[in-house]
Every structure is written in structure tokens, then in C-alpha cells.
């Protein structure tokens, strides 16, 4: 199946960013100071609280954090498919300089698909159980690109070949339940690619798959994005996955961004205690072999978040100023940013972790 792709230039080196970024200078997606509030019986949930990030053309950005840190809400806000109780209360979401927050749903419907696409965590439930797989892939081109039914079907077959679904002519007429988990996720990828989007948002696309399939899907995604220059926003709590597929990473905690930077820098030299905690609790890194260290405590309530830094109740470096002053992201040299007031101490501790290993 790989022969269909044509010649692929000799691989980009380990430092991905050098090879990425053939597009124009400006970012494709620029999220600025995004706030999402959810009305609930218990009070207003500050699900996303002043999140800013941008994604360049062809770049893959990882959005990392634990459950309930606001990753998925951020993605849904970008797509304009927030649940009924949730609202974007402040901030801008610029896609090619166009602010999506102020668009109506029907205006967004011309953007979702041809410019923005989404891949979901659970491909079984994200595919319609009673529609033939091929028609689900062909639907986007029919609606957005004005393709005829026959031409859209052609396009679907071509996409099915591209994502590595064997025997596409026969599988076109199959239903989702006839596919394995990995094949279903390939179908989701084909749907996301069907209208040639500029950016694909992935909400933990490999979490529901077993590890060997996970790897296939990640490689497929990475390759397709490299070939077609599509940008990715990759939400996950799986650090090795981020390391495998992303050039930059943004770490979320309690609805806020706490750290941002190039993947290698952030994961090896965490400059926020929460990032360090994430790295120390993940099994796949060279310097944490025998001891996985959990982060003590529980995620903060987003209805009444702790004052000051939201991580301070769980932080071993917390000082008095962490409890009182707001901690916005501050720029550091090397394109990095951290919300920690005492990041130097975190850095020292991380260096010590490594020395110990």
C-alpha cells in the first residue's frame, strides 16, 4: 500500500521543525486568551481559563494534561461544537486570521470540514452505525466540495487507499461494526482528510486502541500530515505519543496553560512542577526507569479554583507568593513559556531526577 504514495524525500531528521513549516509565516490557528465557562447546578465551571497557543502550517502541537484539565473543551471551542451549557466567554480563535468565536453556526459549517477537521477518541461511536463507511467518507466532499455522488465515491476510495484500508472497493459498502478498531480509526482519519483541511484536531485518537495498532495509527497520521502539510493539534495525556508525533507541546492544568515549548525541551527540562510530575509518572522515558512517581493530591475544582497558582496545593516547591499572585504564562528564552514563579527550582529538581536515574 505504501507504493501508492509516490516518492517520499529522504526522511526529515530527528529535529522535526527544520523539515516542517513550508507554509507562510503566520500561524494557521491562533488561540488567544480563550475562556470557556460551563453552567452547572453546582456553579459555573471555569473549564478553560485564558488559554493561548498557536499552530504553524504543517506543525503538530501536543496539548497535554490530565482528565478534566480543559483539553477537550478547548478543542470543542475551536470547532464551535461546545455542549449546550458551555459558552466561550472571552478570547479569540483565529483560523487564517478569521475569528471563529463570532461566527454563526452556518458560517462555521463552511469552515468545519474544508478547513478544520476532527478525529475522535472512540471511532466506533464516532461513526454512524447505520451508514455505509464509504458514504460517510464521501459525505464531506459532496457537501463541501460540491462533488457529485459518483465523484465523491471515487474520492472516498482514494482516501481509503491512502489510509491503508485493504480492498477499498469492497469495504466501501461495509458498515462500521464490520471493521476492527484500528480500521475504524483509519476511516475516521479518511473522513478528516476528505476535504483537504488545513488543520486536524485530534482528541486522544489512539487512546481506545491497543498499543500495536496505536503505533500504526500514529505513524499513519504523522506521514499523512507531513505529505499534505496539514497541521495537527493532538490532545492526549500520553507523553510518549506526544514525543512521537509532535514538534511542540503545551501543558494544561486546571483549565490553564502552565508550560509551552518544543517537545524535547519540555519533556527533558520541565520548567513547571506539574510537567515534571507528568514526566515522572510516565513510564517511557530513559531517566525514570525503576520508580514512577505519582503526583500527590487531586485535580483542582474548576468551580472554585484555588487562588494564585492552581497547582500550588500539590506542589512541593510552593511558596507564599504561589498562593496569592496570579501566575500567567511568562516567556522564557528558546521559545518556551512557563506559568511557574519558581521554575528555576523545578529545573534543578528535574536535573537531579536525571542524574539519579
Amino acid at each position: 500500500m505504501t507504493a501508492a504514495e509516490g516518492p517520499v524525500p529522504a526522511g526529515p531528521g530527528p529535529a522535526g521543525p527544520a523539515a516542517a513549516g513550508p507554509g507562510p509565516a503566520g500561524p494557521v490557528l491562533d488561540v488567544r486568551d480563550l475562556h470557556v465557562r460551563i453552567a452547572s447546578r453546582m456553579g459555573t465551571v471555569r473549564a478553560v481559563d485564558g488559554v493561548s497557543f498557536d499552530v504553524a502550517a504543517g506543525e503538530a502541537l501536543g496539548l497535554v494534561g490530565e482528565s478534566g484539565s480543559g483539553k477537550s473543551m478547548t478543542l470543542r471551542a475551536v470547532l464551535g461544537v461546545l455542549p449546550a451549557e458551555a459558552r466561550v466567554t472571552a478570547g479569540e480563535i483565529l483560523l487564517d486570521g478569521v475569528n471563529l468565536v463570532t461566527r454563526t453556526q452556518s458560517e462555521l459549517n463552511r469552515i468545519r470540514g474544508p478547513k478544520l477537521a476532527m478525529i475522535f477518541q472512540e471511532p466506533m461511536s464516532a461513526l454512524n452505525p447505520v451508514m455505509r463507511v464509504g458514504r460517510q467518507i464521501a459525505e464531506g466532499p459532496q457537501v463541501h466540495l460540491g462533488f457529485s455522488r459518483a465523484r465523491a465515491a471515487e474520492r472516498a476510495l482514494e482516501l481509503m487507499r491512502r489510509v491503508g484500508i485493504p480492498d477499498p472497493e469492497r469495504r466501501f459498502r461495509a458498515y462500521p461494526h464490520e471493521f476492527s478498531g484500528g480500521m475504524r480509526q483509519r476511516v475516521m482519519i479518511a473522513i478528516a482528510l476528505s476535504c483537504d483541511p488545513e488543520i486536524i484536531l485530534c482528541d486522544e485518537p489512539t487512546t481506545a486502541l491497543d498499543v500495536t495498532i496505536q503505533d500504526q495509527i500514529l505513524r499513519l497520521l504523522a506521514r499523512l500530515c507531513r505529505e499534505s502539510g496539514v497541521s495537527l493539534v493532538f490532545v492526549t495525556h500520553d507523553l510518549p505519543v506526544v514525543a512521537q508525533i509532535c514538534q511542540r507541546v503545551a501543558v494544561m492544568y486546571g483549565g490553564q496553560l502552565v508550560e509551552r515549548g518544543a517537545v524535547g525541551d519540555v519533556l527533558l527540562d520541565p520548567r513547571h512542577p506539574y510537567t515534571r510530575g507528568l514526566v515522572r509518572s510516565a513510564p517511557d522515558f530513559d531517566y525514570v526507569r525503576d520508580s514512577l512517581v505519582p503526583i500527590p493530591g487531586a485535580p483542582p475544582s474548576l468551580i472554585t479554583p484555588p487562588p494564585g497558582c492552581r497547582f500550588h496545593p500539590r506542589c512541593e516547591f510552593a511558596e507564599e507568593d504561589c498562593r496569592v499572585s496570579e501566575t500567567p504564562l511568562r516567556m522564557l528564552p528558546g521559545g518556551r513559556a512557563t506559568a511557574c514563579l519558581h521554575w528555576e527550582r523545578c529545573l534543578e529538581a528535574a536535573a537531579a531526577d536525571r542524574a539519579q536515574a
Binding site: 475522535f120 447505520v130 491503508g164 519533556l267 522515558f285
Partner: protein, 298 residues
């Protein structure tokens, strides 16, 4: 420092393993093993053949009077005898069934369509659309079905068109309730979110994505609804509010025979039994379909 794994190029050994999974043949739905469904289908098939082929099974004109041969008992010439105007009862039964079944099958379509559309709107959009539509449903449901249908036909005047209008205005509420409930559940599914994320419009999502997932319950209900419509049509005929007199109709046959109940009971009983058999057949089909189509049934 090569902690970050590289992504191997396509073509590299072992880079893209493809799992081939053979598509299973679609599970055969063994409808013919359902006794209820099977007997219902047999009953209704026989009745449909008799009714649609009425001229083949009788040589009489259903409306032709023969005042020399009134109120005859069953005989070789008149299988079920004749009525007070000398019309052949067997012939009138077939033509009456034909007329009533035709009206019933048409009458079930309009409330089905109206209720499905309004129920989808209420369920999918919620908020004020839901409030308005469901309060309207409450108002209609407050009246008994037959009372409201009869009252409406009485107001609109007898005839086929009035029957359709009345049954549509009263019957849509059940479909609206069923579809609304199904949509409320289905719209929380990820595939709806995925469709929205793909930039599909609400009409398309409702029609193409949700409808095939929710319509089954409405189809099952429509089978028992036909029985209800059939009874309403017969009742209207009995009250003289159905199709106008010379045309054969089970309701008017029951009414006409009523005066001769003590001497010629078959004039009333036979069309009554016909209604019962049709109702039984359609109900069996409805139950059988429900067993077959409802998820979680073996």
C-alpha cells in the same frame, strides 16, 4: 540525546503493518422463524389478496340491488347471503375491506410523516421548539383518540378527505413522542458530534444521520397505529361519517345489519369479524416486527 523516537519512513521494514479483517456476512435476519410475525403476514396476505382481487372472487356488483332476493341466507349463489337490498354480502365484504384497508394504509402515512418531522425538531433543537411542540402534543393527548377523530370528521363533514385530515391531526402526537425520545438519546452520540464537526447542517444531520437510527420505533408503532386507524374508519362508517353510502364499507355494513340483528345476525357479525381478523393480523405483524427490530433481542 535520542529520547524522542523517530518516525520511520514508509517502506521501512515493519513500518506499516496492515491488519486485514474479513468482513463478516451481514447476520441473516430470520424473520420467518418468528411465529407471531409469520402468522400475521399470512393473515394479512390472504386478506390483501382477497381485497385487492375482489372482482376475481365475486361475480356480483357490490352495489347492485336485487329486491327479489333480499335477506337471503348463505347459499351456493350467495356465499354469505344477501342484505335487505338484495346485495351480495360476500361481495360487499370484499369491496368494503378493500375500501377500508386502502384508506387505513393511506391514513397512517400522514401522521407518521408529520409526527416524525415535528418530533425530530423538538428532540434535536430542544428549547422553545421542544416546548411549543410538546405542549401541543399534551393538548391533543388530553382527548381520547376516537372521540377527537369523530368530532373532527363531524366538523369537517363526512368523506375520505376529512378522515385523512382528522387522523393526521390526532395521530401525529404518538409519532412525535416516540421520535423525540429516540432523538434525545441519539443526539448525544459521538457520531452526531462528529457530523457537526464535519460541518454538516442540522437538516442533513437529522435526515441522514439520526433518522435511520431512530425511525425503527416509529415503524413498529405504525403497525399498531394502522389497527387504530382501521377501527376509526369503521367507526366513522358506522356513524355514517365515512365514505358516502352506496360504496361498501365495513362500518356502514355493520350499521345496516343492525336492524336485522335478531333475524339475520350474520349481516352485522361478518363485517365485525372481518375487522377483528384484520386487527389481529396487523397486531401480530407489529409485535413480530418489534421483536425482530428492537435491539437486544436474540
Amino acid at each position: 540525546m535520542s529520547v524522542i523516537p523517530l518516525i520511520p519512513e514508509p517502506g521501512a521494514p515493519g513500518a506499516y503493518e496492515v491488519t486485514t479483517v474479513r468482513a463478516e456476512p451481514r447476520r441473516a435476519r430470520r424473520w420467518y422463524t418468528q411465529p407471531a410475525l409469520l402468522s400475521g403476514i399470512v393473515i394479512i396476505a390472504i386478506i390483501l389478496v382477497l381485497a385487492t382481487g375482489a372482482p376475481l372472487f365475486s361475480s356480483y356488483n357490490p352495489n347492485a340491488q336485487n329486491l327479489n332476493a333480499t335477506l337471503l341466507g348463505p347459499s351456493a349463489h350467495h356465499l354469505l347471503g344477501t342484505d335487505q337490498l338484495g346485495r351480495d354480502t360476500w361481495t360487499r365484504l370484499l369491496y368494503g375491506l378493500r375500501e377500508d384497508l386502502r384508506i387505513a394504509f393511506i391514513a397512517v402515512l400522514f401522521p407518521f410523516a408529520l409526527g416524525t418531522v415535528l418530533g425530530s425538531l423538538a428532540g434535536y433543537f430542544g428549547s422553545w421548539a421542544d416546548t411549543v411542540i410538546m405542549r401541543l402534543v399534551d393538548v391533543v393527548v388530553a382527548f381520547p383518540f376516537y372521540v377527537l377523530v369523530i368530532a373532527l370528521v363531524f366538523v369537517l363533514g363526512p368523506g375520505e378527505r376529512s378522515i385523512y385530515i382528522a387522523i393526521t391531526l390526532v395521530g401525529w402526537v404518538s409519532y412525535a413522542r416516540i421520535i423525540r425520545g429516540e432523538i434525545l438519546v441519539a443526539k448525544r452520540q459521538d457520531y452526531v458530534l462528529a457530523a457537526q464537526s464535519g460541518g454538516l447542517g442540522s437538516v442533513r444531520i437529522m435526515g441522514r444521520h439520526l433518522m435511520p437510527n431512530v425511525i425503527t420505533q416509529a415503524i413498529i408503532y405504525s403497525m399498531s397505529d394502522i389497527v387504530q386507524d382501521m377501527l376509526a374508519i369503521v367507526t366513522l362508517g358506522y356513524f355514517g361519517l365515512g365514505v358516502p353510502p352506496p360504496t361498501a364499507d365495513l362500518g356502514s355494513m355493520i350499521n345496516d345489519g343492525q336492524n336485522f340483528l335478531s333475524t339475520h345476525w350474520q349481516l352485522t357479525t361478518i363485517p365485525g369479524l372481518a375487522v377483528v381478523v384484520v386487527g389481529l393480523g396487523l397486531s401480530l405483524i407489529g409485535d413480530g416486527l418489534a421483536d425482530l427490530l428492537r435491539p437486544g433481542q436474540a
